[in-house]
């Protein structure tokens, strides 16, 4: 008995130790261990050796999505491209986050096996432009430069010139359109019209004042939800509000006329927004999930009817339309009626192309990028998600098909972006170490919401931290 128990314990200890090791890699290196997805791997090896006699050129495409819908779309389009162009093989690799994919790419550049195309988000545009390899050469190449005025590459029409203004202007740095936009969205508000109607409100609130009035009415409902409104504590919403109020987040025109060397976290627009947010929270109207960057928790609260309004990314419009068990209506992000509305900005990610490929490979990568966002694909991508149709042709095609009559919520994001005036404030900031600065902002907001600290004082502190972080970044990367 004693022996048997001991043996059992030993085996269990070994199993447990093995599992314990797994968890270690999971927590620290999840991103560094790319999970090559199934769709393309079989083709990856076969054509290489057997088909056609000629060499198949591999193009690695790193995608920072891991969910079925969005990763599935990438894989499907890669497979379609490979079928159309058998001399190329685009292979999709999935990563858990933008940062994971980017860090892995920087390391892969140094180890000599970099991906040809990498998916990276808007806030890190400065970081991507600044990234260099071990010998100091930029990692990425401007797609405009690589296309060099061609209108067709390997038979794929170039769609770069057709990209909608909001995205084109955001990603144009020093006059060059560097990366190929893919998933692009903006913040919209989703409204549970059943609750709003019950409270006697027929139209979604458009301004801060209207939100407060609506919340007051909803709070008076006998069987109303426990809170009125929520949105993730994510710096993107702060940046959107600054854009609406025409405030800059960084100097040098939000980092667009020259590198930003200063951030402004104590501007009037900033204080207005955070004070308003805190006010909603203090009166019990705003529901904080208690987690920073909590997309899931806020979206669940909205779908469960625990809040009547959700400020969110338009990227999930189709998801809410499909899954809401109530009348879901999208509207513009509420703005501050005390100042003139200037404009909302985009969010999302673009596809960056590696520098230093040979001509054949580069053409393949460019052809794929243009194929990936051709009107049919861009329209389909919009329909399955809610990211805006990235080209004007795709948008026109959707209008002709009658998609917007069928799904009016899907038009809100494009309309909101079209209303922006394209000044530096509404274009959004390009900052070094933007990811770190965003975390400083959300950390301060959490402190303000949960611990009831003074807004101005806490933002002043955050401002110091953020400016130090930026100046350190400029020390390392600046000219």
């Amino acid at each position: 008995m004693r022996h048997r128990l001991l043996i059992l314990l030993t085996i269990l200890a070994m199993v447990a130790a093995a599992c314990g090791d797994d968890s270690g890699t999971e927590t620290t290196e999840a991103g560094d261990q790319p999970a090559t997805t199934a769709a393309d791997t079989p083709d990856a090896t076969e054509p290489d050796t057997t088909e056609g006699g000629g060499d198949v050129i591999d193009i690695d495409f790193w995608v920072a999505f891991s969910d079925e819908a969005r990763l599935g779309f990438s894989e499907e389009k890669a497979a379609a491209f490979n079928a159309k162009h058998p001399e190329y093989n685009v292979e999709v690799t999935s990563f858990a986050s933008y940062n994971d994919a980017f860090d892995a790419a920087v390391l892969a550049v140094d180890s000599g096996e970099p991906p040809e195309i990498i998916h990276f988000f808007e806030a890190a545009t400065r970081q991507a432009l600044d990234a260099v390899d071990g010998s100091g050469n930029p990692i990425f190449k401007s797609v405009t430069e690589a296309i060099a005025g061609r209108t067709e590459i390997l038979g794929e029409p170039v769609v770069l010139d057709d990209v909608v203004d909001a995205a084109r202007n955001y990603y144009t740095v020093d006059g060059s359109f560097y990366s190929m936009p893919w998933n692009t969205s903006t913040t919209v508000m989703f409204n549970n019209m059943d609750i709003l109607n019950a409270a006697g409100i027929t139209e979604p609130p458009a301004t801060w004042g209207e939100v407060e009035a609506a919340c007051e009415a909803i709070a008076a409902l006998p069987d109303g939800p426990s809170a009125c409104i929520t949105w993730p504590n994510h710096s993107w919403f702060v940046e959107q509000s600054l854009g609406q109020q025409g405030e800059l987040l960084g100097n040098n025109d939000n980092g667009r006329s020259d590198r930003a060397t200063e951030v402004y976290l104590t501007s009037d627009g900033m204080l207005n927004y955070i004070e308003w947010w805190k006010g909603l929270n203090d009166s019990g109207y705003y529901s904080y999930t208690g987690l920073q960057r909590d997309w899931d928790g806020t979206s669940n609260a909205y779908l469960a009817g625990e809040v009547a309004m959700l400020v969110y990314s338009s990227s999930d419009t189709t998801f809410f339309d499909t899954n809401a068990s109530f009348t879901n209506q999208a509207s513009f992000m509420p703005y501050n009626e005390d100042v003139d509305y200037v404009g909302n900005l985009i969010g999302g990610a673009t596809l960056w192309m590696l520098d230093g490929m040979d001509a054949a490979q580069e053409d393949g990568a460019l052809a794929f990028l243009n194929f990936f966002s051709n009107p049919d694909n861009a329209a389909e991508w919009h329909q399955i998600t809610g990211y805006i149709p990235i080209t004007k042709t795709a948008e026109a095609q959707l209008v002709t098909e009658g998609w917007y009559e069928e799904s009016p919520n899907s038009k809100v994001a494009s309309d909101q972006l079209a209303a922006a005036d394209n000044t530096p404030a509404s274009l959004g900031a390009l900052l070094g170490n933007f990811v770190g600065i965003r975390d400083i902002i959300t950390g301060a907001i959490e402190d303000i919401l949960v611990n009831d600290v003074d807004v101005t004082e806490r933002l002043t502190q955050a401002n110091e931290e953020a400016n130090r972080s930026l100046s350190e970044y400029e020390q390392l990367f600046g000219g």
Binding site: L8, E26, D103, T289, G290, D439, E446, N451
Partner: protein, 459 residues
């Protein structure tokens, strides 16, 4: 400044020979003094004397002196080993080495090295090199993919510490003084006397003073510095919580499961399962239990009892408790496993003898079983603490992401947040060096104090 340090090292080298080396000859005095100076100059040379550069502060000098002292100590101790060998003063490890020599390796001195080579290669590649890189990174301001990096000397460390150098000297000296004072008092008292009780209280106070001294040494934040005190407090609370809750629950459950039950072996197997779950999954599970929107517990309390459970992530106490609960649940199976094994090593004869002497079950547990378990308890203390220090990142990331406002952001969470997520490699490295020192400190302390009270059976 640097010269003063080197002169002090030379003098201490002489003093060392006077008090710690058997035979004192002029050559030895000279050798020791030179060794001390050489050891002390290694780090200033390697770091380009940056610790004494014009714009440095007292804290920088202190850290530089600390490293010099470390280098000097290593050098003179190495020299002493050399002298001892020459003098034929043998110690345990010497005797052990002799035993090995007399045994198998008659084929040449290189044979053991060849046999060790694979292990050494792995250690060098995967352990020592990254460790050394961590130390070099900790003195730089750098980011992944950056075209250049900046030498910041001790900057990454000084911003984690209080600004006044005297505090960094006085507090640890005070705490060490209290600890040794209490110990000194304790050995001079007899068991059961009032002064022994007083000394026991003093020992506890002294132990607390160590925690307080460390607290007072870390930076309170502000003025461009990191608020590292709150990270320290959070780490202490959560680590101690996990160790205390995890081990006492583990012991209690193991005690119940060890008794002869029908199907006992099935129970025992099932109890160990949580350990096979990764910390990330533990985080998700407890998130799904307590989450205010999606949580099972929250939902049940609300619909059955009408109790509105507060959002655990908005209260420091609840958030820390939730992390402790989830983490100690995850390690519970491991603790049960080892305590179950431990119960088997408790002498049944002694238990029977205690029964015959009329000891109550509680007395039997306290006087016979618990001391018999001390090796296991000691082992678990080390492994649980290591777990609490290093492995709960994923649990925290799923349950709170450090909320509310950093109150569940323990050292390892902070290191990954700063170093990996924000890409600030230098600061991340500096914090992990601190955690490394903390683990060494805790381990040394555990071996010194618990080692004495651990019974391994036998005489």
């Amino acid at each position: 400044m640097l010269i003063i340090g080197l002169v002090v090292a030379a003098v201490l080298g002489l003093v060392y020979v006077r008090f710690f080396i058997e035979r004192q000859t002029p050559v030895r005095y000279a050798a020791s003094s030179v060794a001390a100076v050489a050891g002390a100059s290694v780090t200033p040379i390697a770091m380009g004397r940056c610790g004494f550069a014009p714009e440095t502060t007292g804290v920088d000098h202190l850290l530089a002196y600390g490293l010099m002292a470390g280098g000097a100590t290593l050098a003179v101790v190495a020299l002493r080993t050399f002298f001892d060998r020459r003098d034929g003063v043998s110690n345990d490890s010497e005797a052990f080495a002799g035993e090995i020599r007399s045994g198998g390796y008659r084929m040449g001195w290189w044979v053991p090295w060849v046999l060790l080579a694979p292990t050494l290669a792995i250690l060098v590649v995967f352990l020592y090199t990254p460790a050394i890189q961590t130390f070099t990174l900790s003195a730089r301001l750098t980011r992944l993919g950056a075209p250049r990096s900046v030498d910041v000397c001790f900057g990454n460390f000084t911003e984690l510490l209080v600004a006044e150098p005297w505090r960094l000297v006085a507090y640890p000296l005070l705490a060490i003084g209290l600890v040794y004072g209490a110990r000194f008092w304790r050995v001079r008292t007899s068991i059961g006397s009032w002064s022994r009780r007083g000394a026991d209280v003093a020992s506890i106070v002294a132990a607390f003073s160590v925690f307080i001294a460390l607290y007072a040494m870390f930076s309170p934040g502000g003025g461009g510095n990191v608020d590292f005190r709150s990270v320290y407090v959070t780490t202490v609370i959560i680590s101690l919580g996990i160790v205390v809750v995890g081990m006492s629950l583990g012991l209690a459950v193991a005690y119940l499961a060890y008794r002869s039950l029908r199907g006992g072996s099935v129970y025992r197997t099932l109890l160990i399962w949580p350990y096979a779950i990764s910390p990330a999954v533990a985080g998700v599970l407890f998130f799904m239990i307590f989450d205010p929107t999606a949580g099972i517990f929250t939902h049940g309390m609300e619909s059955w009892f009408g109790i509105d459970v507060p959002n655990y992530r908005e209260s420091t106490f609840l958030a820390q408790s939730a992390i402790i609960l989830a983490s100690s649940w995850k390690i519970l199976g491991y603790n049960i496993l080892f305590y179950l094994a431990g119960f088997q090593s408790v002498s049944l004869d002694q238990v029977e003898a205690a029964v015959i002497d009329g000891a109550s079950p509680w007395q039997r547990f306290l006087k016979v079983v618990w001391p018999g378990l001390s090796p296991i308890t000691f082992f678990l203390l080390v492994t649980n603490l290591t777990y609490a220090f290093f492995e709960i990142y994923a649990t925290i990331d799923f349950m709170t992401r450090g909320a509310p406002a950093g109150d569940t952001s323990v050292a390892i969470y902070e290191i990954i947040r700063v170093g990996v997520n924000n890409g600030d490699l230098g600061r991340g490295a500096a914090q992990s060096v601190l955690l490394f020192i903390a683990v060494i400190g805790v381990t040394l302390w555990q071996f010194r104090t618990s080692g004495r009270r651990v019974t391994y059976g036998g005489a």
